[in-house]
């Protein structure tokens, strides 16, 4: 079967509305156990959800063994052998109801450890900050696993990626980073892998592991080995063969296990399934998949192995409804499967995603709360490579599966375009109304032009998928470093009005003795609000600080990129990203067709309202002096209560109300960031793409910033994504969703090539009934016509969230949208819970 053949017709009638859909409910969320029509799915779901998260030592120990054994090999061979050693030796299991099998080198919901990335915090936290005692994101670990992890401590001292990065960073690059003042957070890629990509499943399905191995052998045979440049390529191809063979072996191990289990199994139905699983694994260990079930098994295993190798999150599924459709179509025609049996498989896949988890260090979980692996996005809908509507049966079935499983996985993204069928919009809205925050909606009208501007081809742009939370990506061809940093433009603004000095500077700061205590400043001296005589000086100063800090951040990111290249090549991933085998270059070294780096700006709303306050009150109305604003912030508004109230009142222009006065400043705040980031070169021969969103980093970045002029008290979150400010006393957007949408669409979303995000929260009553639903759809349509890129929703009442904070025991299944992802509400950190609750609820009855 030729998967890229567009002549395969969609001959199966669409199934837009399922009979049960009317009863899905509004704001009812994920409570209850019988949402799926398939008992197996309901059973499996409860079993998986109720299992605890744990930490497992096995991967770490196996990798250590391999690093010792292959210590004299080239780095890429060492890494390949380490992966192979894990896949050959790690314990494997098959649990009841698993129609597709595979584990992340650890048991279900157990986090494997990646000592090659970072290890000192692992030991420190076992000893001093036990994971089972964390307030949120907690994990359990056995005494045996602890001892095993202690046993490899010495080997990794000074050998991990994070230590190398830290040793290479200069004082100036460090001071603003997560290692010191947290103006920008580089945690994710400093302590773990990159991820944020999609494997080229179409290629894998077309060739199978066997076919890819043949390609590699051919390329290797063609190398002129007397050319010294080719020695590196020879190592690369040798590494490819090691890992591809190991991947086949891993599948064969599961095939053997299933076969053994079937022999002993008494239950006839389960025995047959085990035999089928065994056959599937055996077949796809080398060959091209023939059926939907085989393809799904291969897809799941290929993805899982990527996670074992890379320690990356947001390893996404891409356009599942597109590349799986030929299998679906053929199975239905041949009778090999029914629509129902395929629906059940999709739902099992969704539940299998819960198995993947990643242990993050205790500082990172403040910013990235939620224990899921994170970012296993699955994209549906949109246009095809020719620009025509690509909706098919699977598009609808993927949404049904979400309504049936109601958990945070996978992170479903629905692409809408000008000609998206009305039925698909209705189903999307019906699923969103359930209230688990899923799915998110992307706008082809903005994403495709943004992708073209980033330099992807028209065909690849039309074929974009969503990676992780927010980012658009050319699936299977790209290594986008999409989550490279979270950069607080709110902090930049603070330094811009205070001559490079932090507000709240004092001896509590870790840098005091090197900085404030010596009379120094964190940033360059670009002027103080106390001295400015014109508002434009505020903007100038902001621009200068921005340039300085973007330079520091990019230097830090480039160090990280280089260290990953040197220390952690990814031969398995390289086999499944186009460009690498062709060029003989590892994906970490620029092998992919597209290479980007995407750091995000956080705090657009905060900067906009801060600028607006200063412009209006200091320079126009002259109600207060610039000095007073600085003093008010320094004193955390104590003694400045009337000013605090005024700044938070609707007497001051605020972003998010369709008021050009403040909205134009929001655009300036974001554009200034984009201007300094866009088109800078990166270490892989690609370039930088700015993003404008926070996910939940606005909470972490707020926790390290003193009070600020938009009416924020010290340590409160800064504004989220492209949303409006909401402070302890008041949300600053008061004119409802149309005004919010108008404000947000004044930003240049297309310029923010790494993505933007608007979070909206609706009370269930606002989207109830056909009236609520249709107007909700119209609201999104209008946002998209105005080139807004992406939006996502919570449909849950404030009362419910308040009650859940009081009685978490009653809400173990309450799933909410954080930003980019959904998570179990009662497992989030308290500041994040408050942040979600404080988002303006759009209610109209």
């Amino acid at each position: 079967m030729n998967l890229t053949d567009s002549s395969i017709e969609n001959t199966i009638k669409p199934l837009p509305v399922e009979p049960a859909e009317k009863d899905w409910g509004v704001g009812v969320n994920a409570m209850g156990d019988t949402h799926s029509p398939f008992p197996r799915v309901n059973r499996f779901r409860r079993f998986v959800i109720d299992s605890e998260f744990t930490v497992d030592h096995e991967r770490a120990c196996l990798v250590t063994e391999a690093y010792k054994k292959y210590s004299d090999s080239p780095q890429i061979i060492k890494c390949a052998q380490a992966l192979a050693h894990v896949l050959h030796n790690v314990t494997i299991r098959i649990l009841p109801d698993e129609l597709i099998v595979g584990e992340m080198a650890a048991p279900m919901k157990a986090a494997p450890i990646f000592p090659e990335h970072s290890y000192s915090w692992v030991i420190d936290e076992i000893k001093n900050h036990p994971w089972e005692k964390r307030l949120h994101d907690n994990y359990y670990i056995t005494r045996k696993s602890k001892n095993k992890l202690f046993g490899i401590e010495d080997f990794w001292k000074g050998q991990s990626i994070d230590e190398k990065i830290s040793s290479m960073m200069s004082e100036d690059e460090k001071k603003g980073s997560n290692l010191e003042r947290n103006l920008y957070l580089l945690n994710l890629y400093m302590f773990a892998g990159i991820g944020h990509l999609q494997l080229n499943y179409e290629k894998l399905f077309a060739l199978g592991y066997g076919g890819i191995k043949e390609t590699v052998k051919k390329k290797m045979a063609e190398l002129d080995q007397s050319n010294p440049e080719n020695l590196r390529k020879r190592d690369f191809y040798r590494a490819e063969l090691i890992v591809l063979e190991a991947a086949s072996d891993y599948l064969r191990r599961y095939a053997a296990l299933a076969r053994d289990m079937a022999k002993k199994e008494k239950n006839r139905e389960w025995k047959e399934i085990l035999l089928k699983v065994s056959e599937n694994c055996d077949w796809v260990s080398e060959d091209r998949p023939r059926t939907f079930w085989e393809a799904l098994q291969l897809l799941f295993m290929a993805t899982t192995i990527t996670l074992i190798e890379t320690n990356g999150h947001s390893v996404s599924f891409g356009r599942f409804d597109q590349y799986m459709f030929p299998f679906y179509s053929a199975d239905i025609k041949s009778g090999a499967a029914t629509r129902e049996s395929i629906q059940e498989l999709i739902e099992i896949l969704y539940m299998k995603d819960i198995w993947w988890t990643k242990l993050r260090d205790r500082m990172t979980v403040i910013a990235n709360s939620g224990r899921g692996m994170g970012g296993d996005s699955l994209t549906i809908g949109g246009v095809d490579k020719e620009g025509e509507d690509a909706t098919n049966d699977l598009t609808y079935m993927c949404l049904d599966a979400l309504a049936h499983t109601r958990w945070g996985t996978p992170w479903l993204a629905v692409r809408w375009h000008e000609n998206t069928p009305r039925e698909l919009k209705i189903k999307t809205a019906n699923v969103i109304r359930i209230g688990t925050g899923q799915p998110k909606i992307f706008n082809d009208q903005a994403a495709i032009p943004a992708s073209l501007l980033s330099g992807r081809s028209l065909e690849d742009s039309r074929n974009y998928h969503v990676v992780g939370c927010v980012e658009i990506d050319a699936g299977g061809k790209e290594y986008g470093w999409h989550d490279a940093a979270y950069f607080s433009i709110a902090k930049v603004f603070e330094l811009a009005i205070n001559n490079g000095r932090c507000l709240g500077c004092g001896s509590h700061c870790m840098r005091w003795e090197r900085c404030g205590g010596l009379g120094k400043r964190l940033g360059p001296e670009t002027g103080s609000l106390a001295d400015f005589t014109l508002f434009n000086q505020v903007l100038d100063s902001y621009d200068k600080q921005m340039k300085y800090w973007v330079d520091q951040m990019i230097a830090g990111i480039e160090i990280m990129d280089r260290v990953h290249q040197e220390m952690k090549p990814l031969p398995y991933l390289s086999a499944l990203i186009n460009g690498c085998i062709e060029k003989g270059v590892d994906v970490t070294a620029g092998g992919a067709v597209y290479n980007f780096t995407g750091p995000q700006a956080v705090g657009v709303g905060a900067v906009a309202d801060g600028m607006s306050t200063i412009k209006q009150l200091v320079f126009e109305e002259k109600k207060v002096s610039g000095r007073e604003i600085l003093n008010a912030c320094e004193s955390n508004w104590v003694g400045y209560e009337p000013l605090y109230a005024l700044v938070n009142s609707d007497k001051v222009h605020h972003y998010g109300n369709d008021d050009d006065y403040a909205d134009s400043l929001a655009k300036f705040a974001a554009d200034t960031y984009c201007k300094h980031v866009e088109n800078r070169p990166n270490a892989r021969g690609g370039k930088y793409l700015p993003g404008v969103y926070s996910v939940s980093a606005n909470v972490a970045l707020g926790l390290v910033q003193w009070a600020s002029p938009e009416g924020r008290k010290a340590l409160e979150p800064v504004s989220d994504c492209v949303g409006a400010v909401h402070t302890l006393v008041r949300a600053h957007d008061v004119n409802g969703p149309t005004a919010m949408v108008n404000s947000v669409s004044k930003l240049d979303h297309i310029r923010a090539g790494n993505g933007t995000l608007l979070n909206m929260k609706f009370s269930p009553s606002a989207v109830s009934g056909d009236v609520g639903r249709d107007n909700f759809i119209s609201l999104i349509d209008t946002y998209f016509n105005r080139k807004g890129m992406h939006c996502q929703f919570n449909v849950i009442s404030r009362e419910t969230l308040e009650d859940a904070m009081k009685h978490p025991e009653n809400y173990r299944d309450l799933v909410v949208r954080v930003a980019g992802y959904s998570a179990v509400f009662v497992e989030l950190s308290k500041p994040l819970q408050y942040d979600i609750m404080g988002r303006t609820e759009l209610s109209f009855d």
């Binding site: 209560e641 149309t738 108008n742 009934g769 609520g772 107007n775 759009l842």
Partner: protein, 327 residues
């Protein structure tokens, strides 16, 4: 009495403009709330709508404290005469007999503890807000709803606003009590695309008891609207123990079927919710239905469904709530 002829008035007193309303007419709408109302419904949840003029609301809980702020006392020309009451360092009340209505205190208040209900706005200011959302109206089949209070108390202004919307091809609704001279209503009617009104009680004396006015004019005007085949939505606020007895429901059905010839787009049954209590307090008034304990949701939901069923048995397009699409 012969009604006066329409004279264009370009400025009105508005107490709220709400964008993205979706329950008062089709699609996404911008709703303009005009001040002034001829009725005094006990269950009214917008007491700030009743007076025709701007008035101050007092929210003591938002007051920062006179010792820290006190801006209101500084600007109030009548403060020495005791216009503003301060208790335990907070502004708690305004003596509306002493207050001269200058509104400076609210202007000076940084925390909205003193807030103004009602603002004079001219047509072009309002149209700027309305036109910001034209894309949303077009996409959703929405438009503008003029509500109140009673928008026909400021009818000369309302007509001008409707004309302006008409010129921009924006769909319009009026949400009205219909307790207004028929001749006035008939002059406004041609400029509105749809009328939304209430039947609060069929018994005229009960109507007077609960709203301060009989229903004679209201019902007469409703018949006139139906006779012109103007799209009409009727709402029944279902107030338990006040107007939800079977007898009144059957009388309502008889009227809609008989007098109106069932020429209604929809009859919406709205639940009673105890809303606006805070606003009464801010205006220094008591909530008129303090004596009444509203039933639990389960009970009122059932009640409303029961009433809908009775009306439907007459062939009337009755629905619970405002969430169903109109035909």
């Amino acid at each position: 009495m012969v009604a006066e002829k329409h004279k264009p008035v370009k400025e009105g007193c508005i107490f709220n403009i709400q964008r993205y309303t979706i329950h008062d007419g089709p699609g996404i709408r911008t709703e303009i709330f005009l001040k002034g109302c001829p009725l005094r419904c006990r269950w009214c949840s917008n007491p700030e709508s009743i007076s025709l003029h701007p008035e101050i609301g007092v929210y003591a809980s938002r007051c920062i404290g006179i010792s820290k702020c006190g801006y209101c006392l500084k600007v109030c020309p009548e403060s020495e005469n005791g216009a503003i009451t301060v208790k335990e360092d907070r502004v708690t009340e305004i003596d509306r007999n002493i207050c001269n209505g200058c509104l400076q205190c609210a202007d000076a208040c940084p925390s909205n503890a003193l807030t103004v209900w009602g603002k004079k706005m001219n047509i072009s200011e309002i149209m700027t807000v309305i036109l910001s959302d034209t894309d949303f109206y077009a996409k959703s089949g929405g438009g503008v709803t003029i509500s109140g209070g009673e928008p026909l108390l400021q009818w000369n202004f309302t007509i001008e606003l409707l004309k302006e919307c008409m010129a921009k091809n924006i769909h319009t609704c009026i949400e009205t009590t219909l307790n207004i001279q028929t001749e006035v209503m008939l002059q406004v009617l041609p400029y509105a695309d749809m009328i939304i009104t209430d039947i609060k009680h069929m018994d005229s004396s009960k109507h007077r008891e609960y709203t301060g006015s009989s229903n004679d004019l209201i019902l007469k005007n409703m018949v006139a609207i139906a006779d012109k085949n103007k799209p009409l939505i009727i709402r029944v606020p279902v107030i338990p123990e006040h107007n939800d007895a079977d007898e009144n429901i059957h009388a309502t059905a008889d009227f809609i079927k008989g007098e109106l010839g069932n020429r209604v787009k929809q009859v919406q049954l709205l639940p009673y919710k105890q809303l606006g209590v805070e606003k009464y307090t801010s205006l220094g008034r008591d909530y008129p239905m303090n004596y009444f304990n509203p039933p639990e949701r389960e009970i009122w939901e059932k009640n409303i469904k029961r009433i809908a069923a009775i009306l439907q048995s007459y062939g009337i397009p009755a629905v619970p709530g405002t969430g169903a699409k109109t035909s």
